[in-house]
């Protein structure tokens, strides 16, 4: 077990359903003891990846290792050390939430009633209600309580906070921080950027079943530009010529532009000379990275499409 520097290692994973290619060579690692964010738009293959990691689906190609084992062949043994929260929780209609939590916990290991109660309190869940009567958020809480009440080495969370209110999201953040402090590993699939930025050490972004970006949050931020909005008494014309300034526009008397990280000192010195009356600088966000990435991809795709159409017309 000492060799497991990586809780999850995936290389070149492929999976097709008929002629739909869900994964086309995905790479992903979850370093042990860390939280890894897993971002991608709907239908990009996040859930398929997690279901392969659980041994529910069999990959067509590539390599996947979970806690040092094969997720398909060693599923039963590995699941003793894995807790899973599906994105869309299905429960037994005629059982109560409390019964479902006990069943899920005991399927992987012994039940710790004290931990269960602690999590029930934290997520304010009534365990005596029949699952049929739970809202989506409450069903999600059942799966979360069951996962967090265990001492699984690896948590696979597929959009775990969908349907939760902001207070419960805070409870979730707190819980994941505890899990991390205990040296356990988490794969957190999500499209809530703030949540991933707050919790994740590293992030992998996928699109159409392929990894398009991966790295620590700090590394990813370095590739982004700071967004600056200023009101400049000295006018903005002088900025256009400065190295590292991009997307310069003038809107309602405000000057807006983006700056590469390495050019920030020089640009700010220039801004200071232009007598700023107000200045707002926003650090790059994961969301921006995400949108930029997909925006560019989208533009490329559209471009290719219009080229194709033009070609067809000729």
């Amino acid at each position: 077990m000492s060799s497991n520097a990586m809780a999850v290692e995936i290389e070149g994973l492929t999976k097709s359903f008929g002629n739909v290619h869900a994964l086309r060579g995905l790479d992903l690692t979850v370093p042990a003891g860390q939280v890894t964010g897993f971002l991608g738009p709907n239908g990009s293959g996040k859930t398929t990846t997690i279901r392969i990691l659980l041994g529910l689906l069999r990959s067509d190609g590539g390599r996947a290792t979970v806690l040092g084992g094969d997720p398909w062949a060693d599923a039963v043994r590995l699941h003793r050390s894995i807790a899973y929260v599906p994105g869309d929780v299905t429960l037994w209609h005629n059982l109560t939430g409390g019964e479902a939590i006990d069943i899920l916990c005991r399927l992987s290991g012994p039940l710790d009633p004290r931990r269960k109660q602690q999590m029930l309190d934290r997520f304010e869940l009534d365990p005596t209600k029949k699952a049929r009567t739970y809202s989506k958020g409450n069903r999600q809480k059942v799966a979360l309580v069951a996962a967090l009440a265990s001492d699984a080495e690896l948590l696979l969370l597929d959009e775990p906070t969908s349907g939760l209110d902001p207070i419960m999201e805070t409870a979730f953040t707190e819980s994941i921080a505890e899990v991390k402090a205990q040296g356990r590993s988490v794969l957190l699939s999500s499209h809530i950027f703030a949540e991933v930025e707050k919790l994740a050490d590293t992030v992998t972004i996928i699109r159409n079943g392929v990894t398009v970006e991966t790295g620590s949050i700090a590394q990813l931020r370095q590739r982004l530009r700071t967004q600056v909005t200023a009101v400049l008494a000295g006018g903005s014309a002088a900025l256009a010529a400065v190295d590292g300034v991009h997307d310069l526009v003038q809107v309602d008397g405000q000057t807006r532009f983006t700056v590469d990280e390495e050019s920030l000192p020089a640009v700010l010195a220039q801004v200071a000379r232009l007598q700023p009356r107000s200045l707002v600088a926003n650090p790059p966000s994961l969301e921006e990275l995400f949108l930029r990435h997909y925006g560019e991809e989208l533009a490329a795709v559209n471009g290719a499409d219009s080229n194709g159409r033009n070609g067809a017309q000729k």
Binding site: R51, L54, P86, T128
Partner: protein
């Protein structure tokens, strides 16, 4: 607003919660089109299969019985306890129409009634359960519009099936010369009538139960009870036949008494049941049944963490329901055997003592087969929950724990396997004990327990088929399993009319089983079927363990 008098305003405020909502049928037309569009294949299949079945048997018998002598002979061989019990005997068994009636009327009428129950649930409780109705109701749609549309479509289906059967019957010349087409009209109307009662039963079941499974189970159970009531009535003095709407359909007696008025009874009962369903729907909340939700335990016992323990808990309702059914049927069947025997004697049938003994044995063998059929439905239903749990996503939740697919599947299959054996033995024993008590012969208990238990391999072959389909064709497994069971049932009932080779009929699980106590025990078919069942289960589970988990 300021001009509104306080009292009027109070009344206006009270109205929405107290009064009846306006326009409860708004959107009916759109919903009728929706129901037809969504069920067009199902509706067409029911119509074609039922009418086709009647037309086929009609044409076949027309070519088979060319003389009155042939019909008279056929009527004589038809008058057995088994046929009286299973399908009922026509009022005029020695007419061409009567012969066809004996063969297919019960199948057509009951199949239509069951089909309508399933259709009503599919467009009623099932949609409400998963939230589709909620989406529809958020639009400009009256409270009763969707159910009314589904009822209307099912009623039209029943009428069409009956009308086409009447047309087919008249066209194939089933009416004796000189009687016009009265018998044909009556036979069509009687099928329609029983179908309509199925509609009423399904509508009420959909209001009482809060799940689609519950609604289908309740509706089927009611139809099953009505069938058994008429069966007991037909074997005995006929009083219970008149207590059952299925019996009313029989008692319309096409080509016999040619009665119209029981059709009136059937229609009135349907209207009453639909009215009851409407009232129930108007007085309950969307998504609720009659039974309110109560808080349950906050924790689960350790046994729920095993597939067997959890499966037993989840199938508690069906297991209890089927057990009660089997126990009641065993007792009921056993209690009428003696009366049937007396009836044969009263009729002055000149049977020597030894032959009469054979008559009882034959009747008991039929009844043991009936118990086995009920147990088969229980076992297959339990086996199809493997796929049902996979389709709903429940199996993923369990397999994400430290649980192998083999262990999950095999433990779950203990429920149909062990449960089936227990129910067979218990049903047979009660049948024997109940008859034995009337003739003061305790040895019947053990004999019938064995006669019924010997069907276990046949039941397990059906379970094996369900498991193999679950493994290899998960998406269509449930539909195919029930389709095959229905086909088996059809072939057993009318197999000889289908020109199927003898060996095909003999190889069917139920026909291959020794027909005890009439026939002696034979081990070969029992051992072979057990092996086939084990192989099918292995093939199915092995495939499941190697394939992707496929949600529905």
């Amino acid at each position: 607003m300021t001009t509104v008098a306080p009292r009027t305003r109070a009344a206006a405020l009270a109205l929405p919660t107290r009064g009846r909502p306006a326009d409860t049928l708004a959107g009916l037309g759109a919903m009728v089109r929706f129901v037809v569009r969504r069920n067009r294949v199902r509706l067409a299949v029911w119509l074609v299969v039922l009418v086709g079945l009647f037309a086929y048997v009609g044409a076949y018998y027309k070519s088979l019985f060319t003389t009155q002598q042939a019909l008279d002979d056929f009527a004589k061989v038809s008058d057995t306890p088994g046929i009286r019990a299973l399908t009922g005997l026509a009022a005029a068994p020695n007419t061409l129409g009567g012969a066809v009636w004996t063969k297919v009327w019960m199948t057509c009428a009951l199949a239509l009634a069951f089909g309508v129950v399933f259709l009503v649930t599919r467009n009623g409780r099932a949609d409400e359960e998963v939230g589709r109705t909620e989406l529809l109701r958020s639009r400009e749609l009256g409270l009763h519009a969707y159910p009314a549309a589904s009822w209307l479509v099912c009623a039209v289906l029943s009428v069409l099936v009956g009308a086409l059967i009447a047309v087919v019957s008249a066209a194939s010349g089933l009416d004796p010369y000189g009687t016009g087409i009265t018998g044909s009209l009556i036979v069509g109307a009687s099928v329609t009538g029983v179908g309509l009662v199925g509609l009423g039963v399904g509508a009420v079941a959909g209001q009482v139960a809060s799940t689609s499974r519950g609604a289908n189970a309740l509706g089927s159970a009611v139809l099953g009870v009505l069938y058994v009531m008429r069966m007991v009535g037909d074997l005995g003095d006929g009083r219970l036949t008149w207590a059952s709407p299925v019996g009313w359909g029989q008692e319309m007696q096409p080509w016999g008494a040619d009665r119209w008025w029981p059709f009136g009874l059937l229609v009135v009962l349907t209207v009453v049941l639909l009215a009851l369903a409407t009232v129930l729907e108007a007085h309950r909340d969307h998504g609720a049944g009659l039974m309110p939700q109560r808080p349950g335990p906050a924790g689960a016992p350790v046994r729920y963490a095993t597939p067997l323990g959890l499966g037993l808990r989840l199938q508690r309702g069906p297991v209890v329901g089927w057990s009660v059914t089997v126990v009641l049927c065993g007792l009921l069947f056993g209690s009428v055997v003696h009366a049937m025997d007396n009836l044969l004697n009263d009729a002055g049938t000149p049977l020597p003592a030894i032959l009469r003994g054979r008559g009882i044995d034959a009747l008991m063998a039929v009844l043991a087969g009936m118990i086995a059929l009920i147990v088969a439905v229980y076992a297959v239903q339990s086996a199809t929950t493997l796929r049902a749990d996979e389709a709903s996503g429940l199996v993923e939740t369990q397999l994400a724990g430290a649980l192998s697919r083999w262990r999950w599947a095999l433990q779950r299959l203990l429920i149909p396997a062990v449960g089936g054996a227990v129910l067979l033995a218990a049903g047979g024993a009660l049948l024997g004990a109940s008859y034995g008590a009337t003739v003061h012969d305790g040895s019947w208990t053990g004999r019938m327990a064995v006669a019924s238990l010997v069907y276990w391999p046949a039941v397990m072959v059906l379970v094996g088929v369900a498991v193999a389909l679950f493994g290899w064709l998960p998406r269509v497994a449930i539909a195919l399993t029930w389709g095959l069971l229905a086909a088996l049932w059809f072939v057993m009932l009318i197999g000889d009319a289908l020109h199927l080779p003898r060996w095909v009929l003999d190889v069917l699980p139920f026909s291959a089983t020794p027909y005890m106590p009439l026939d002696p025990m034979r081990w070969t078919p029992v051992v072979v079927m057990t092996a086939v069942a084990a192989l099918l289960v292995w093939v199915g589970v092995d495939r499941f363990a190697r394939r992707d988990v496929v949600p529905g």
